[in-house]
């Protein structure tokens, strides 16, 4: 087929072989053209700017282009503390994104609420939207963000992102014979 197969793990090779060529190609395209929607609410935004800036340069991984419209983006980065009051806005932004879409929770506040264990802060944005990759740290180092992005790209390639799995599940349910 002319497709280079470089992996050291047998399971990865099996997954690779199971995918159709179209899926393989489309996922390859998706993982290198992530359009980011930065949902920046707090101080982690500084670290996000550092990742987007030239020193760490998230553009090396094809995710350099922040789109400030959820309809034009496929990677939602939740950067910073989410309050209960912001929950409906976050859910609305996520619902407006086109499939397939992925979510990264950037920092402990977006992942678990961090040290804001009180009446107003949401204990992690996964209370409202499904999250693919969590990045710990307060704030995380830029290297951690790049590591998470590489992890997410790996998942996208193998079709293991949350929205991809949901689409597959819905297709299987639709294709199953009715009992």
């Amino acid at each position: 087929m002319g497709v280079e197969l470089t992996t050291t793990r047998i399971e990865d090779a099996a997954k690779w072989a199971k995918q159709s060529l179209v899926e393989r190609g489309s996922n390859w395209g998706r993982k290198f053209s992530l359009f980011t929607y930065p949902f920046v609410t707090a101080c982690c935004g500084m670290e996000f700017m550092s990742v987007a800036g030239p020193k760490y340069d998230i553009a090396r991984f094809g995710a350099e282009f922040p789109r400030f419209s959820p309809r034009q983006s496929d990677l939602l980065m939740v950067v910073g503390t989410i309050t209960e009051k912001q929950g409906p806005a976050l859910k609305r932004v996520f619902d407006q994104m086109a499939e397939p879409k992925w979510v990264i929770a950037f920092g402990v506040c977006a992942s678990t609420g961090g040290f804001y264990q009180n009446y107003s802060a949401m204990p992690g944005c996964d209370q409202v939207i499904p999250v693919d990759v969590y990045i710990p740290g307060c704030p995380p180092r830029p290297e951690q963000v790049l590591d998470a992005l590489i992890l997410l790209m790996d998942r996208i390639q193998h079709g293991r992102g949350h929205s991809q799995l949901r689409t597959k599940r819905e297709e299987l349910i639709a294709a199953a014979p009715e009992e």
């Binding site: 929950g87 409906p88 264990q117 009180n118 009446y119 107003s120 949401m122 209370q127 409202v128 499904p130």
Partner: protein, 184 residues
């Protein structure tokens, strides 16, 4: 420094002042609730006072207040008013400061609003209402300012459970009502 302000206040509005005190260089006047607007009007308009700068409004919840080293009889108990509403004022003309305090009970947490006298107190009184549930009579627009309208209770009151969340929205596979936890 501003002791002369307290003296002038006591001299002109003696019937409105319950008592005065000074702590850490700040002069405090405890004002009767029904006289607050008159005192505030005088503090703003009198040229010898000229308190033109409203600094903040807040509230103190004295529920179960028991400082270290103070006998229990001087701490808070049921017979004392639970809330203290605090108005901090500053005069940029005379460079003086004064703090007005009004004691209100839990059963009747009402204070006359000063938003008409100092418009900068508008949002601060809304915040105090939002966090402590103190009603400001005569406020032009007394709504919650930080929390959402669906929120029940007042989060900075000492008897509000610290981690009690009231979610607006949850994922489809999660319950909207949080798991009930035993609160110590």
């Amino acid at each position: 420094m501003a002791q002369k302000v307290l003296d002038a206040l006591t001299a002109t509005h003696g019937h409105a002042v319950e008592r005065t005190e000074s702590t850490y260089g700040d002069e405090i006047a405890w004002i009767k609730r029904d006289q607050l607007v008159a005192v505030a009007q005088w503090l703003r308009d009198d040229p010898a006072m000229a308190f033109d700068s409203p600094v903040f409004v807040t509230c103190i919840d004295r529920l179960d207040w028991q400082p270290i080293g103070v006998p229990p009889s001087e701490g808070w108990n049921e017979s004392k008013p639970r809330f203290e509403v605090v108005y901090q004022l500053r005069s940029s003309v005379h460079r003086t400061r004064i703090r007005l305090k009004i004691a209100v009970t839990e059963q009747d947490p009402r204070v006359p609003s000063l938003a008409e006298i100092w418009p900068a107190f508008n949002w601060q009184e809304r915040e105090t209402f939002d966090m402590y549930g103190v009603r400001f009579d005569g406020h032009p627009d007394l709504r919650r300012i930080y929390m959402y309208e669906e929120f029940v209770g007042y989060p900075l009151r000492k008897d509000y459970p610290k981690e009690k969340r009231q979610p607006l929205v949850r994922r489809d596979d999660l319950p909207i009502n949080p798991i009930k936890r035993e609160n110590p």
